[in-house]
């Protein structure tokens, strides 16, 4: 008994050291990503500061005097130094306080109702994109240079160049005007959400098509890279079935590249929702954002940028984790 204890002790100690090193590395990655987030928010805040006009004058009533505008500028805190306001804003962010809009409403209240709608739209499109890209990429990789591979390559290349609003027009034309299957615009129910789930179909598809094009190409390219590695070639030469080689031998090594690709498409997806929501009159963040641009309501836009950047940071961190795990497993 004691002899095994002695034997395991160094092992346990080295395991603890290893765990400590892993924790340190995760901490470093986390810190780096967080720092980038803060830097981006500072740049955005400073950029907003450089605007020739500010929210106080942009929302002024007709005939309001200079004194009135100055009073509201004071009320909104616009007469204090930039860094002081940035510090107040960024320290309040983690508590969910997103600041005050130019019209004096709390930004978090403004976003509370449309946010869930956008989350539903974006998440559905994201999940569909990942599933479709994996399926198409693997299907194409099963027979390199075959008919399926060529067709998938051509259509995914074509799809990823298409702006979401162009895809939307095509969908509207086919699914609404010609067939009459789906309503052309979103009607909002009493609770602020779309009245029917069928109103989600076209916006989700419009977001999914271009992003699937992009991610399918990444999955396909990552699998091709893996296919050239010795262990996958060996598995292939051993006569294992193609599907088994792809799923068990090629896919594990391809995950880091795929995860990074999916992570980069999160930003595109978020941007796409703004456009698609405008086109289908969908009650989400995009609609609020369009109004904020017209009003030059910078606190609202800064808050949306902060939320989007935070979300992308989280997704990139997940991609970092996938990469670290794969590389760790290999070494």
């Amino acid at each position: 008994m004691s002899s095994t204890e002695v034997a395991t002790q160094p092992v346990a100690a080295s395991a603890a050291r290893k765990a400590g090193a892993v924790a340190l590395r995760i901490g470093a990655v986390l810190g780096k990503r967080l720092l980038m987030l803060v830097v981006l928010l500072a740049v955005v805040f400073a950029a907003i500061e450089l605007l020739p006009g500010d929210a106080a004058s942009a929302t002024s009533e007709r005939g309001e005097g200079a004194a009135g505008i100055a009073a509201r500028r004071h009320l909104l805190g616009l007469d204090r130094p930039v860094w002081e306001r940035f510090w107040d804003w960024i320290t309040a962010l983690p508590t969910g306080d997103l600041g005050t809009s130019a019209r004096g409403e709390r930004v978090s209240d403004l976003l509370a109702a449309p946010l869930p709608n956008t989350v539903v739209l974006g998440t559905t499109a994201f999940v569909l994109t990942v599933l479709a890209a994996l399926a198409l990429g693997i299907w194409a990789a099963a027979r390199p240079k075959g008919a399926v591979d060529r067709v998938v390559d051509l259509t995914s290349t074509a799809a990823f160049a298409l702006p979401e609003f162009v895809v939307s027009i095509g969908l509207l034309l086919v699914l609404s005007l010609w067939t009459g299957w789906l309503p052309a615009a979103t009607v909002t129910g009493g609770d602020g959400a779309p009245a029917s789930w069928t109103m989600l179909i076209m916006p989700v598809l419009a977001l999914t098509v271009p992003q699937t094009g992009w991610n399918t190409r990444i999955v396909r390219a990552a699998l091709a890279d893996q296919a050239a590695t010795p262990h996958v070639e060996a598995a292939h030469l051993d006569g294992l079935p193609v599907r088994r080689v792809l799923l068990r031998h090629a896919l594990p090594g391809a995950w880091p590249a795929i995860a990074t690709g999916i992570a980069t498409s999160t930003g595109m997806l978020l941007g796409g929702t703004v456009v698609v929501e405008t086109l289908f009159n969908y009650p989400g963040i995009g609609t609020v954002l369009a109004g904020a641009v017209a009003d030059r309501d910078t606190p609202v836009i800064a808050a949306v940028v902060a939320c989007a950047a935070a979300l992308i940071t989280v997704v990139l961190l997940l991609a970092d984790l996938v990469r670290a795990r794969t590389l760790g497993a290999r070494s």
Binding site: M36, V39, L40, V43, V44, A47, I48, L50, L51, P52, G53, A141, P144, K145, L154, T157, A158, F160, A161, L162, P163, E164, F165, V166, I169, G170, L172, L173, L177, A184, R217, I218, A221, L223, A224, A227, A228, E233, A257, T260, G261, T264, G267, L270, G271, V274, V275, T278, L279, A290, V293, R296, T298, I301, V304, V305, A308, A309, I312, L316
Partner: protein, 281 residues
């Protein structure tokens, strides 16, 4: 893909004329858009039909929300979009090439570029464009072009830098350094000529991206302002009348779709597989 497919000698010996075949649609479309205003029958701002007038002999594709001829506006609407997209692609590619070549020779500059690219990825292009359009209210098309350049460059520099990184430690560069050559000579005379494939692929992809970003801004009414006949703006303006005259929305939608697809296929065909894969990352 097996090793046999990767090392397929036929792929390397593909005849050149076939390589340029996918480029033809893009060239024809760009030429058509640039020469479009010549055959246009009507001016872009004079009503010739009723609002959302149906297609007839006078207006082949009907009228838009003010009764202006859709076909004439369509023929006028492409050159400015393509012009700004080309400008963005050229400027971003040039800036990224220069910065990328110098970045691999100066590790500190390289790290800075890497950090900026990592940070800028956190800002979705649409939001970035909205911020710049706010900062520059009367900027119109010029503001959008500048925004697209600012947003596109960091990512492009990283692509050039990652393609140039293996070259920086190559023997001929070390020999040149030992020979006392300056940074400018190393970057422009030794590294740059070896990056032709990457730069060509980058230019194609930047053009595709610029068409995407600029037309998106046009759709959001952040760039060109009415009564300009911009394809993306036409889609936004005529959206409410899609039931009355679908052509007013479908025709510019088709035009942007065809432009985006054909340019992307051309870029894809011109870029060698290795450069294409580097650009995907």
């Amino acid at each position: 893909m097996t090793a046999a497919a990767v090392l397929d000698p036929r792929a390397a010996r593909r005849p050149r004329p076939r390589m340029f075949l996918p480029v033809i649609p893009a060239v024809l479309l760009v030429l058509g858009a640039v020469l479009g205003p010549l055959p246009a029958a009507h001016s872009v701002d004079k009503p010739v039909t009723a609002p959302y007038g149906e297609a007839g002999t006078d207006a082949v594709l009907g009228g838009d929300q003010l009764g202006r001829d859709v076909l004439s506006r369509l023929l006028h609407g492409g050159s400015a979009l393509i012009g700004s997209a080309l400008t963005v692609a050229v400027v971003v590619t040039l800036a990224a090439t220069l910065l990328g070549c110098f970045a691999v020779l100066h590790p500190r500059l390289g790290r800075l570029v890497e950090r900026i690219a990592d940070t800028s990825i956190l800002l979705p292009p649409v939001l970035g464009i909205m911020l710049l359009a706010l900062a520059w209210p009367g900027g119109g098309r010029l503001a959008i072009t500048c925004a697209a350049i600012l947003l596109g460059t960091p990512y492009a520099v990283r692509i050039v830098a990652s393609a140039a990184a293996p070259l920086a430690t190559a023997g001929f560069i070390e020999a040149a350094i030992a020979g006392g050559e300056g940074t400018a000579h190393l970057a422009l005379r030794e590294i740059l000529p070896n990056l032709r494939a990457t730069i060509l692929a980058l230019f194609g992809l930047r053009f595709v991206d610029a068409v995407y970003v600029i037309s998106m801004a046009g759709f959001l009414q952040l760039g060109p302002q009415p009564p300009e006949a911009d394809w993306a703006l036409m889609i936004r303006e005529n959206g409410p009348g899609i039931l009355l005259n679908p052509w007013a929305v479908v025709a510019p939608g088709l035009a942007i779709g065809l432009l985006a697809i054909s340019v992307n296929l051309a870029a894809n065909a011109l870029a060698p597989a290795t450069a294409r894969r580097a650009a995907l990352r």
